[in-house]
Subunit: 435 residues, 2 copies
């Protein structure tokens, strides 16, 4: 029997999720158990990028969370209300929840998780932090065997985009913000991003999972990037730093004294000077990254697109997949996400068929026309050159380095074999592939 | 009732795992369900860094995999035999498996997983690839909703360490290898690392999970780094590249034509010229990183320590945790790794108590002794300075930038308040924290 979804909201993320679930080739086979039963929208007459049966679309969101056929409610309308009430009603009705709503979880997490535990349902929120980066599940599962002491994140793409451009262009905050708004990287009202509020929501959620305690959002210190000037970015650069908006959760005592207590935390969002060699220092543009540090792991970092329809749909769908696996697991059926699901062998293509760029270094006798002869041989086998450098000499021999455009490896090897026979060629000491 | 482990092997990783499991404060509470029932070793008289009851240690590994009390066998002896036979026997006896043994899984995965599916048990292998980096579980679960087209990894720390040093020092392969062997970063027989065989094992495992098909290890093309010369590294640098040993699994057709078939794969390990701006280009030293690309996610990268007792113990323990959760889950008990396990609030420390470094920029009247006055004020409140720069002028005013050593934020703010009252100080336009 299929697992029935009630999806609330068909904006960017909702549309991306439906597209993913309607196009299953090459994805986890368990997704085939899913049926999009109802999709709640405000304006059913709007043109949509996805096709749904007439009886699937509905404007009555309340009816969806009350529909006895729905197993999982996927809340993608965002904002505080009616999202909070709909989630709570769905939980009361025994439905599992998938949500991308960081604002609601950061504010009403206590109420929502208490209700979920009472009802025996799961609330999944991979999409709430870090877009498509799987970070919520690792924090809840794999990484939780560690005694985590620090979570540091670049979790807001808009501010990271602005700071990156200020740094590379030497521009002012207000100029870059205006341009980012024009390009769609910043909202018309940029407050939530620029003043660090969105990052505060996210670090509250990450800290709660990493340190096993609930967080009052007003306890998160939050400072945005409006005050960061190009002068400071230039000074920071000179001193060996870059400036990033970091969200930080850090224990003050490395190890809790009693097994049940959680350690006191420092919890904050602020622009920070970061040494250039720090793993987070090279995260640029709209990308997000989360660095988790603990014992005995030391450190691990997750990096990826922090927003966007595809990335967020990936996270939402992974939560749905996890729930489907949980619903399908029983003593008779092992969890399909833990066991090996395939028996067939992959078909591996021989190296001769590989299409790649090559780097090759030739030692040649210093004769006129060597480069021309190389070029002719390459041409015969359809190898075109991206660059050719003749700089060094090794004794009597000239050194020529070429980088090719994409070429079939088999063709390139044939060209090399012919080049090897040329009288002017002494040897080909290096042959490397280029990504 | 507790979940009983039979651990095979008490080397570096085995010892790290036992240490983690014997010191549970601050880790996931579910680990308390675990009992270390038996630990199999070759030499019971050796001194050990962990204390175990006399009846726990045993030299009879066969007896451990046959012990009816054991629920999970944790295979940490490495190598092909007797590891393979012990794993198969344990599976036959209905025990779940946790293993860090990439060599055995890459060679006997087909046999092992077929047996596990038949017996209805799980084989977990997070520690086999990427040390402490959670990459196996995300590939099996979160990321599997994507149509993955490429997995690219730096999955061998030894070769990455050697290439990084060759690049930064301009040294020869053989010199760096000899030094790495002396420092313990390379084995006395470096073949498996240096010739790409270890990386081949790992990309075979990653490809199998990413593309949902089994892999014959002999299908993986493998080329090591012995041929990489400092000359090539220098040319690569000049052309905008770094050279990395990459393990690559890539589909040749972006989307499979039929739902059940897996797409043809290119599967290879070789030194590769990588554009400097590529996310993997800045992964240096013994670190590992795995970049996963697919649709609709685009790309996500996992970064962390690829080896070491702590990192590998973290991965092994996370697999054990996942199995304990699976064993404890029933219709009455929801999966404790999916539900929210905590009710208490975290204790958040006020910002005044934060210990951090500060960056501050002052505009001062161009009077003699201003720096001295600043220094005196900072000294009064115990703020010590790491660096002080006076370079710029803004009109009539001199610009002074300071970076402090670690200081209590409250003290720093008091010092600033006093500095504000100094006649020579015009303003303090910037105040930022330094990581």
């Amino acid at each position: 029997m299929g697992v029935k979804l009630g999806i609330l909201g068909l904006g960017t993320v909702g549309t991306g999720t439906v597209q993913l679930l309607q196009d299953l080739n090459g994805r986890h086979p368990l997704l085939r158990e899913i049926e999009i039963h109802r999709v709640g929208v405000r304006s059913p007459q709007l043109p949509r990028a996805v096709e749904l049966a007439k009886n699937v679309l509905s404007t009555d969101l309340e009816a969806i969370v009350n529909d006895p056929a729905v197993d999982i409610v996927v809340e993608l309308i965002g904002g505080l209300e009616p999202a909070r009430s709909l989630i709570l009603k769905a939980i009361e009705n025994g439905k599992h929840i998938v949500t991308a709503n960081k604002a609601a979880i950061a504010r009403f997490g206590d109420e929502i998780f208490t209700a979920a535990n009472k009802a025996g349902v799961y609330v999944m929120l991979e999409a709430a932090v870090g877009g498509g980066i799987p970070v919520i599940q690792p924090l809840k599962q794999s990484l939780s065997v560690n005694r985590i002491h620090t979570v540091t994140g670049i979790v807001n793409g808009t501010t990271n985009y602005i700071l990156t451009r200020m740094q590379t262009e030497g521009s002012n905050f207000s100029d870059v913000l205006a341009d980012a708004q024009k390009l769609g990287y910043a909202e018309a009202d940029p407050t939530a991003d620029v003043d660090g509020l969105d990052a505060a929501d996210k670090i509250a959620i990450l800290a709660s999972l990493a340190f096993g305690g609930r967080i009052k959002l007003q306890d998160v210190y939050s400072e945005g990037i409006r005050q960061v000037s190009k002068t400071d970015i230039a000074y920071a650069e000179k001193l060996g730093f870059v400036i990033k908006l970091l969200a930080i959760a850090k224990t003050l005592t490395p190890s809790p004294s009693s097994p049940s207590s959680t350690p006191p935390l420092s919890l904050r969002v602020h622009p920070t000077l970061l040494p250039k060699e720090h793993p987070l220092a090279s995260i640029n543009g709209v990308y997000n990254a989360i660095l988790v540090e603990g014992e005995p792991l030391k450190q691990v970092m997750f990096f990826g697109p922090g927003a966007g329809a595809g990335a967020t749909a990936s996270a939402v769908s992974s939560d749905i997949l996890n729930l489907v696996a949980a619903l399908k697991t029983s003593t008779a059926n092992p969890n399909p996400l833990l066991s090996c699901a395939h028996q067939d062998y992959c078909q591996i293509v021989p190296m001769a068929e590989l299409i790649t760029r090559f780097y090759a270094r030739f030692l040649t006798k210093d004769q006129p026309g060597v480069i021309g002869k190389l070029g002719t041989c390459f041409g015969t086998y359809g190898v075109s050159l991206e660059s050719i450098v003749q700089t060094g000499f090794q004794g009597e021999l000239a050194e020529i380095v070429v980088v090719t455009h994409d070429v079939r490896e088999g063709n390139f090897r044939q060209a090399l074999a012919e080049i090897h026979t040329l009288e002017a060629i002494d040897s080909i000491p290096s042959l490397l592939r280029v990504l």
